[in-house]
């Protein structure tokens, strides 16, 4: 029985055979008639060099804003963790008395996080690390097991 490895690697022959198998499917598809018009409309009004500089500037600003937001989240999480571990919801009370607005939201999050962190600390670091490893492995598996796009049919 033949295996993949003992096939004749004749490029020209394989090329011709593949073209024969594909046949009519090799016919090109016409692009939408207004594709160029619409693409021209999207072009920047400036010369390419200036457009590239503007684009790079916008990208830098986006990165800075993203970093700023991420730092904000990390800061809130850190202060929240300190609050949970110390048993004092100080972050929530920075913004009010915990009865309304952002203060109420932060207090709610603090109260939600508290039992979870208590359970995890009760179980110990090995279990915490195992949970984190399981989550990372799950994410990696999800990424690897879906190599092709999953099509979801939806109405426009």
């Amino acid at each position: 029985m033949a295996s993949r490895d003992n096939r004749v690697v004749n490029e020209e022959g394989a090329d011709a055979l593949m073209r024969q198998l594909l046949g009519e499917a090799l016919m090109p598809i016409s692009p939408p008639p207004d594709l160029v018009t619409r693409s021209v409309r999207r072009l920047p009004k400036t010369a390419p060099r200036i457009a590239a500089l503007q684009q790079a500037k916008r990208a830098r600003i986006r990165t800075l804003i993203s970093l700023f937001i991420a730092c904000g989240f990390v800061l809130v999480a850190l202060i929240g963790m300190v609050g949970v571990f110390s048993g004092n919801p100080s972050l929530a009370f920075l913004f009010g008395d915990g009865s309304q607005g952002i203060s109420q939201v932060l207090l709610g999050l603090h109260l939600l996080a508290k039992p979870m962190i208590r359970i995890l600390t009760l179980l110990g670091w090995p279990v915490m690390l195992a949970c984190m490893a399981a989550m990372l492995a799950g994410g990696w598996l999800w990424w690897r097991l879906l190599p092709a796009p999953l099509y979801v049919y939806a109405e426009k």
Binding site: R7, V8, V40, K45, P48, P149
Partner: protein, 193 residues
């Protein structure tokens, strides 16, 4: 050679901000870019969006174009990288009913030949869609864009030997997915007896 000289003129004009000159380049390559994106992304809507984005990228990067290379190869390398990036980011693709109608065989009565061709097109497109992205790319560049091995190597950044290996595997994978008859024929013709 004349084509290349004409393109260099358009590129030089486009570099000064002449959008009409760039639109001439777009008219010339709209078909190639659209066909590549359609075969890679698998539906008309995405192919159209991607084609527009690719032309926009080509415009903003025009100054980095090396005039000793062919413009088509440079543009297709931007298109290939864009499609691979987009596929990597896309794990869930929302396919609209318009796209489904576009890829499904027509229900209108027509000549039998047209219906068979349409069915074949769908079968090939479906087989292509099930290939890993990098394998699909070399097949599309070879058979739909009709590029030489040297050009595909330039577009993908692969060495010629790596490209031949990838193309060999890609052809085998595609033949397996085209259907039992095609697979049988492929194996019969490419296997040592």
């Amino acid at each position: 050679m004349e084509v290349q000289a004409e393109e260099i003129t358009w590129i030089e004009q486009a570099l000064t901000g002449d959008q009409f000159a760039f639109s001439q380049l777009m008219h010339r390559y709209a078909g190639a870019v659209y066909n590549l994106t359609y075969r890679m992304l698998g539906n008309a809507q995405d192919a159209e969006d991607a084609s527009q984005e690719i032309f926009l990228r080509a415009y903003t990067r025009l100054e980095s174009f090396d005039r000793s290379r062919r413009f088509s190869t440079w543009l297709l390398s931007i298109a290939s990288n864009y499609c691979i990036d987009r596929l990597r980011r896309r794990r869930f693709a929302w396919l609209t009913l318009d796209d489904v109608a576009y890829t499904m065989p027509s229900r209108e009565r027509g000549p039998e030949r047209t219906a068979l061709e349409r069915e074949r097109q769908d079968q090939v497109q479906s087989a292509l869609r099930n290939l890993p992205d990098h394998y699909r790319l070399v097949l599309v560049l070879r058979y739909w864009q009709d590029l030489s091995y040297e050009e595909i190597a330039q577009v993908t950044g692969l060495t010629q030997s790596a490209l031949k290996t990838r193309l060999h595997r890609a052809r085998n994978m595609l033949a397996e997915r085209l259907g039992p008859e095609e697979q049988e024929l492929w194996q019969a013709e490419t296997t040592v007896s």
